[in-house]
């Protein structure tokens, strides 16, 4: 058994991920290989450091607060319990999408951020998360960088905001990462609108 093959097994050996048969096989190699014994010793030191990190501090009484706060979010008027029984009107979808897209458009960085790739930054985000990023920015950035209110209103009323229009306005690579009216499904719209409930943009 060579070093390359054994090295992965050493990691499993020190973390208890090897079956008895495999342990014997690794042990046989270790008996005759000082290099691998050295690797094992080094790995054990790292494990010892890692073990100390198992005991992070948690605020006193924290775990007792989880359920009451959760129930509050579920049971409050307009909370999850009532939302589960609610059907959004048909028009909610394009409105929600327009708000989201407007947010993304206005949040796109200016030239001073150079060639950094927005597509990479947003890859894998869900629709609701994109909305959150945008609205968080609205709440915390200086007014000078906040998109004008009339721009947002204009986009909301512009229900004909189409993918074609967006493609003209946005770089093609960025466009691939964004969701438009056509691409957002009902659940994503629901997420966005639920989050919008507490916002003041409209």
């Amino acid at each position: 058994m060579g070093h390359d093959h054994i090295e992965q097994r050493l990691t499993d050996l020190v973390t208890g991920g090897l079956a008895d048969g495999e342990k014997n096989e690794v042990q046989e190699h270790l008996d005759s290989c000082p290099l691998c014994r050295e690797r094992l010793a080094s790995l054990r030191k790292t494990i010892a450091v890692l073990e100390q990190s198992r005991h992070s501090k948690v605020p006193e009484g924290y775990f007792g607060t989880i359920l009451p706060r959760l129930r509050q979010r579920i049971d409050r008027p307009g909370g999850l319990r009532s939302l589960l029984d609610f059907r959004w009107p048909h028009l909610a979808a394009p409105i929600g999408a327009a708000i989201l897209v407007t947010g993304l458009l206005t949040a796109i960085p200016s030239a001073n951020q150079g060639t950094r790739n927005l597509a990479a930054a947003t890859r894998g985000l869900e629709a609701g998360d994109l909305a959150d990023v945008y609205f968080d920015e609205l709440q915390i950035t200086p007014l000078a960088t906040t998109p004008p209110e009339d721009l947002a209103k204009g986009a909301v009323s512009g229900l004909d905001l189409s993918k074609g229009l967006l493609e003209v306005m946005l770089d093609e690579n960025v466009m691939q990462e964004l969701k438009t009216v056509d691409e957002l499904d009902e659940e994503e719209i629901e997420i966005i609108l639920r989050r919008l409930e507490t916002r003041t943009l409209l």
């Binding site: 989880i66 927005l118 930054a121 985000l125």
Partner: protein, 181 residues
């Protein structure tokens, strides 16, 4: 009463059954999120979001996988979304404008309080790519088997072993680079 019985009771309208599931898994969900994100406040929000998603999903939950595995998957995905949002915020420059306190690792006084070793580990984990971070947390801290992790992350055992190995190696290299060999 086992988890599936609790789910059945919840699906029939028994809210207390959901509370019991939260009671059973709140610690595990928190610690997975905490070790993933290395920040209490963010972990707390992941706990809340994960259980809210579970509340919604349990209405139509089918027992293809265990409740425990399913909840882990929700937690990991929610934590991953937080990480991705952080990336987006960093890209938009939001954190630079607002984060007076910032993540725990940026606060020297807290690093001191938490101890050098712990701060070192947290930073090493924070530097891992997200997939390796997920595998490392589930394998090392939660001590799940590769088979369980494969079910949670919907990937192959072989790939997970490689991810865990590379994660350990990166952590080891980082610790050595700070400590010296």
């Amino acid at each position: 009463m086992n988890d599936l019985e609790l789910v059945e009771r919840f699906q029939k309208g028994d809210e207390a059954a959901f509370n019991e599931l939260v009671h059973r898994y709140k610690d595990k969900v928190y610690w997975t999120a905490r070790r993933f994100l290395q920040d209490h406040d963010e972990a707390d929000e992941v706990v809340q979001q994960s259980f809210l998603k579970a509340y919604k999903g349990l209405k139509t939950f089918r027992s293809d996988s265990g409740v425990f595995t399913w909840l882990y998957r929700i937690t990991v995905n929610t934590a991953l979304n937080v990480l991705r949002k952080q990336r987006a915020r960093e890209f938009l420059g939001i954190d630079e404008l607002t984060s007076e306190s910032g993540p725990e690792s940026d606060r020297p006084d807290e690093q001191y309080e938490r101890g050098e070793e712990q701060a070192l580990v947290e930073e090493a984990i924070r530097r891992l790519p997200e997939k390796q971070r997920a595998v490392f947390v589930l394998r090392f801290y939660d001590q799940l088997s590769y088979e369980e992790i494969a079910e949670i992350l919907n990937t192959s055992v072989g790939g997970l072993k490689a991810n865990f190995f590379h994660a350990m190696r990166k952590i080891e290299e980082y610790v050595k680079s700070v400590h010296g060999s």
